[in-house]
Subunit: 338 residues, 2 copies
DNA sequence: ATTTCATGAAAAAAACCACCTTAAAAGATA
DNA sequence: TATCTTTTAAGGTGGTTTTTTTCATGAAAT
């Protein structure tokens, strides 16, 4: 079976193509009689306009390109879900791609999608790109009329809208939260040193200590770039020789590693050691004890980012001015803190 | 800045549009000199043919529509990752959508994408659709020339290619594995009663018992439809009054619930109770004890499904004949079994 | 009362979007 | 003149939009 086109309808009803088009758009120059006739027939044949023809004519595809660094990440999946829902509710479809943390892949994706397939990008910068500081593929894309809204992992070197977690303050708040629990020697554990989020969370940690008149002890800081598990354990273990009573970790699995090692060293959680972690994913809900988290609201971040891009595409938002929006965090208290 | 079109190049070099097109396609009837000139200019201007124009002309978009019931599912994300990689390697892009387990959403998605946006579908059937047995949107789609390859959750009522886990035999194998560990009273715990995978795993459980000459004790079977956590705990708890020594669960969180309750009842894992679960996700790797799993190779499933669809689209595969392919499972041994 | 012509509605035709294909024409060479 | 190369022009993809054409009506003129 073949999809019905305007031409098919025109031929069947013995009218011209333009008459059909106008009738379906309720344009008044078509007589009531003809219009009803055409509309009924179109409905009967389940007519749907061809998307490619529309895109070609309108110079916009009502599609959004999404670049995710890594799909096996609960937070990004929440963001993606938020994007998909928001986009769908505005009649946009999304093309999902994975950069796999590779700069080269990012370049290829942008090149491949900048051909009328999409109207703009939603993306989180890959690790490699963030490390090598090469952002011209993004700025070029914007120059060629494909607006970008970055989420979570952003760069100050690209002029575009950005939606991020207020990592700095969230981190500082986490410190304050632990202090209220009575913690005095709070460690910071992060494998995200080279990412902007890693830096901000570390800054927030320092700010939090300062706000609470606690000293910054370098012995209590593990700030590194994704080591393998064994290395990581070896780095974390010495912490426990410093009588710590609180840990802030920038991701879930760090927190789990730290808790595992702490238990081996005889710490009781949360009595001797309170643990709070960024990223409120599946692990946090299912760990023993269940993790207290700085919850990042990925779905909201995705929805906000999508909305922002769509506003830009539909000119409800000034194309020349860019804003950075912060998504609030919550502390979800579970069993790893008192 | 504006994207370069064939017309732009033609005007700039003072030749006709078709000359440019032919030159870029290395068609021999264009002179060496002209060809080089045009190709260089095109490269310089970073010319890319417009996707919509191509799709319109060729009546194919080189895009695949993917319908996932739920994004916050590690297994489906592995599948999606496999799909994306395989598709990208063949020059296909994917449009990712979420049915959110809803029949209505599924219908809308198919309707929205069957407009030239995509050439075919990769999908896992939503729970609601599987329950109400209404599949005409799928069969219609196939009739209208949009082939479907189903993965994981499939239906025997739709004629199309299917890629599934060999759930029945995987489940039977899991029983045999536990029996080899010395288990004699093996329980089956599943919240997926109404899904085809749930049924098959239960069949496999029964087959496995039979193969090992063990009786089927209804007291050892919890087969239900997604209860809430508390209900579920209440259903599982009575198991431990029946002196079970093994558990097969059809999903990770069931296994974790069961292990939690078992520990509360004084069972030691894996000494008193061996636990094996379907779905080899993040939870399994991070639980205490770490879960032995029937690993499903989601990425392979995605890649195989994508390959199958692309073969069909490019007529390397007979459009009229449909096959069901099984993806092998492995048992990944961790600490919840001996 | 008949013809003429303006008016306006309704419908059809044509142009355009960017690209590809193919048939035809032009030009060069033998 | 015939043959071969190179270029041009036309037509098609499905839709929207602008321009043209058609046709009926009614008023004014004969």
């Amino acid at each position: 079976m073949k999809k019905t086109t305007l031409k098919d309808i025109a031929k069947a009803l013995n009218v011209s193509v333009s008459t059909v088009s106008k009738a379906l758009h309720d344009i008044p120059e078509i007589s009531e009689e003809t219009r009803i006739l055409i509309q009924n027939y179109a409905k009967e044949k389940n007519y749907r306009p061809n998307y490619n023809a529309l895109s070609l004519k309108n110079k916009r595809s009502k599609s959004i390109g999404v670049i995710i660094p890594n799909m096996l990440n609960y937070f990004y999946m929440q963001v993606l879900q938020g994007i998909e829902k928001e986009a769908a509710s505005h009649g946009y479809r999304i093309m999902t791609t994975i950069s796999n943390e590779s700069y080269q892949k990012e370049v290829e994706i942008i090149d491949m999608l900048s051909t009328g397939s999409i109207d703009g990008f939603l993306l989180a910068i890959s690790k490699e790109t963030e490390e090598n500081g090469e952002f011209s593929h993004f700025t070029d894309s914007v120059k060629f009329g494909f607006p970008i809204v970055m989420f979570d992992r952003v760069s100050e070197h690209v002029e575009c809208d950005k939606i991020i977690t207020d990592d700095l303050n969230a981190s500082a708040d986490a410190v304050s939260y632990l202090v209220k629990q009575g913690c005095k020697r709070i460690a910071f554990v992060s494998p995200l040193k080279s990412l902007s989020i890693g830096r901000l969370r570390f800054e927030g940690y320092k700010k939090g200590l300062e706000q609470n008149n606690l000293p910054l002890d370098p012995n209590l800081v593990i700030n590194t770039n994704e080591p393998d598990y064994k290395q990581y354990d070896a780095m974390i273990r010495p912490l426990y020789e410093h009588k710590i009573d609180g840990i802030i970790s920038t991701n879930e699995s760090s927190a789990l590693s730290a808790m595992k090692l702490a238990k081996e060293d005889g710490y009781k959680i949360p009595e001797d050691l309170a643990v709070i972690s960024f990223a409120n994913g599946i692990l946090a809900r299912n760990s023993h004890p269940r993790l207290t988290c700085v919850s990042q609201h990925g779905e909201i971040m995705g929805a906000v980012a999508a909305k922002k891009l769509i506003d830009k595409l539909e000119k409800r938002d000034d194309a020349k001015s860019f804003a950075t929006e912060f998504i609030e965090t919550d502390i979800v208290v579970r069993d790893s803190t008192r």
